[in-house]
């Protein structure tokens, strides 16, 4: 009897808790607005929305390269399963054509769609929640004036129980801090503007901050380095491994142009970011650089000292570079396997006379060689940097048909030893093999990012 009572109480308690959770997780539907898609907006508002959408890099996730812009369907691999981006064109049935501004704003603020479903944090609402109502209005105006495209979103591929969206309410309780952040009065207006763009719409931390077991950004390691689409997003805090530390000028130049003579070219998903940022005014680029450099902080005296030497070396080199500096390197072969390979296959460009962005970066200046994980070099050596379509760009040939796993591993070991004081990398042969086979997935993009390539339909609609 006693046992039965206890069991009843126990079961009742579970149901109550589950019920309470569902109430907590429930969000109302915002009624469909049949006329939302026909609304018109001031051209200035739409133009500002275009700039903001570039900061948010919306097109990158919400477009399959070669398909209409913003029509969704891109597979976003996550450690939990594959999520497909949604159609954010103003198509009424398959896009956001029936969403009023309040529904759009709620999605940005709370990660809830018009119908009241919780959205997966692959949509970075943990950052977008910082966007002001005014900027959301401009973004809304921009998106609602794109061409409507009928394109049904693909089902996500998530294991049980993750497809049960109310669970996301629990995730949000733990990891989502809603709302805008107050400007810091002690900092400059430029710094505050930079922080607003970087921490909000720019969502830099989505790639550059490591994630915890629940896939949420680890706030204690803000900008400590993460990954995206098979690429390492380097640490951009005091742990930055750039041999010559970034400063406001170099970072602004890099973000504006997609390369810097002391840091090399942007590639992988970052190529899209720097490509998109070209829509921004200089003042916003400078603000972003100011804020990010402040997060990196002043370099230690040893690092500053080393940087000064490098700067001198490379500035002097540039003055006295002669035509024969190319051949002098390649002839000095001999020694261990990695070294011979480096001298024969890499040094011509990477120690040659050509300057960035068309020559190879000297590895003395390379963040990649100093990074904890060599993935980016593995990617670039195997698959190269494909040239941009129809314009001058950085390019590197692919070596996957030439180098075996062992040879590339030897090469990496040599580079690490010669160009960095960091400890040797381990497991290189396996890492190369998995990248080559596709067991480890890597997205390969032209050096300017694919969305701006002339053959991309998305680019033509802009």
């Amino acid at each position: 009897m006693w046992a039965l009572k206890a069991a009843i109480v126990f079961v009742a308690a579970i149901f109550l808790a589950a019920g309470a959770f569902l109430v907590f997780a429930w969000r109302s539907e915002i009624p469909e607005d049949a006329t939302a898609g026909e609304a018109s907006f001031a051209p200035e508002l739409v133009a500002r929305g275009a700039q903001l959408a570039a900061v948010g890099n919306c097109i990158a996730c919400h477009t399959v390269p070669g398909k209409p812009a913003f029509s969704g369907g891109l597979a976003v691999p996550t450690p939990f399963g594959t999520i497909y981006s949604t159609n954010i064109t103003p198509d009424r049935d398959t896009g956001i054509g029936g969403w009023n501004e309040a529904a759009f704003e709620r999605a940005m603020r709370e990660g809830v769609d018009r119908a009241g479903n919780h959205l997966y944090p692959a949509f970075p609402y943990d950052h977008f929640t910082r966007v002001t109502a005014q900027d959301n209005r401009a973004l809304y105006a921009f998106l609602m004036t794109r061409a409507a495209v009928k394109a049904e979103a693909t089902e996500n591929e998530l294991p049980f129980p993750l497809e049960f969206r109310p669970l996301l309410a629990g995730w949000k309780l733990l990891f989502l801090r809603q709302g805008e952040v107050e400007p810091e009065a002690a900092r400059s207006e430029e710094w505050n503007r930079g922080r607003y763009l970087v921490e909000g719409l720019g969502h830099c931390g989505a790639c550059h901050t490591p994630r915890n077991a629940f896939g949420a950004e680890d706030r204690d390691r803000h900008f400590g380095g993460g990954e995206a689409e098979g690429w390492q997003a380097y640490a951009i805090n005091p742990d930055s491994k750039a041999p010559i530390p970034w400063d406001e000028q170099s970072l602004a130049f890099y973000l504006r142009n997609g390369w810097h003579e002391f840091h090399g070219v942007s590639r992988g998903p970052m190529a899209e970011v720097t490509g998109n940022l070209s829509l921004l005014p200089d003042s916003d680029i400078a603000a972003i650089a100011t804020y990010v450099v402040s997060v990196m902080g002043d370099p230690t005296p040893e690092r500053a000292q080393r940087a000064a030497e490098l700067r001198e070396q490379f500035e002097a080199d540039r003055l006295e570079q002669t035509a024969d500096s190319q051949s002098s390197v390649a002839l000095a072969s001999g020694g261990q396997a990695g070294e011979t390979l480096y001298l024969a296959a890499c040094a011509n460009c990477h120690q040659g006379a050509r300057r960035q962005p068309f020559g190879g970066l000297n590895f003395e200046l390379s963040t990649a060689v100093n990074a904890p994980n060599p993935q980016n070099i593995v990617n670039v050596v195997l698959f190269g940097l494909p040239p941009a379509d129809g314009e001058a760009s950085a390019v590197m040939p692919a070596f996957r048909h030439i180098l075996s796993d062992q040879q590339l591993a030897d090469l990496l070991a040599y580079m690490r030893e010669s160009f960095s004081d960091e400890p040797a990398w381990s497991g290189l042969v396996e890492q190369v093999a998995n990248t080559r086979s596709g067991a480890y997935k890597v997205t390969i993009r032209p050096s300017d990012g694919i969305e701006r390539a002339p053959h991309n339909v998305g680019a033509e609609e802009e």
Binding site: Q326, T340, L343, R354, H401
Partner: protein, 166 residues
């Protein structure tokens, strides 16, 4: 140091620094002048050859990596008297202007057509992304590659006679 190289089916013992780019050995030691020196930096594609079925830039490949591998150059695709299907198509459609880029274009196309007899327009363009042509004869090059694909498919189909007797 002596390295043995297999080029267009025949093997050669090459006495050279193992770091020497394949392109130099092809042109200077073997007298195979089809592959061209354009940039020497892996940026133009005029030096493209095929190694084990894949298009590679011979200016970037040190010969020490080629021991035991099959190299094919444009000379391996046919002769003046008996041009292969790619060469035939390029002649037929007059795809060359100055011709400097053409051997590289053909070798990239060769690797593609081996893999896929009937590539899409997109795939052809993709295969040629690393091949530049300063004369601007791109449209004819594309047409020639499509034509070569047709010729190859026609050659591998049973001819009308075989069809009747078989």
């Amino acid at each position: 140091m002596t390295i043995s190289l297999t080029v267009n089916g025949s093997s050669h013992a090459i006495d050279a620094d193992p770091a020497t780019p394949l392109l130099y050995v092809l042109r200077d030691d073997l007298g195979l002048n089809g592959a061209k020196y354009g940039c020497g930096l892996g940026q133009c594609g005029s030096c493209t050859v095929v190694v084990d079925g894949e298009a590679v830039l011979s200016c970037m490949v040190p010969i020490m990596l080629l021991e035991g591998r099959e190299v094919t150059t444009v000379e391996g695709l046919g002769t003046i008297d008996e041009p292969g299907p790619l060469q035939q198509a390029f002649i037929e459609l007059q795809a060359a202007q100055c011709g400097y880029c053409i051997p590289g274009m053909m070798m990239s196309a060769h690797a593609l057509l081996r893999r896929k007899a009937q590539p899409s327009e997109e795939e052809i363009r993709e295969a040629l992304t690393t091949n530049l042509c300063r004369c601007g004869t791109h449209m004819r090059i594309l047409a020639a590659i499509r034509r070569a694909g047709e010729l190859m498919r026609a050659a591998s189909l049973p001819g009308p006679d075989e069809g009747r007797t078989g």
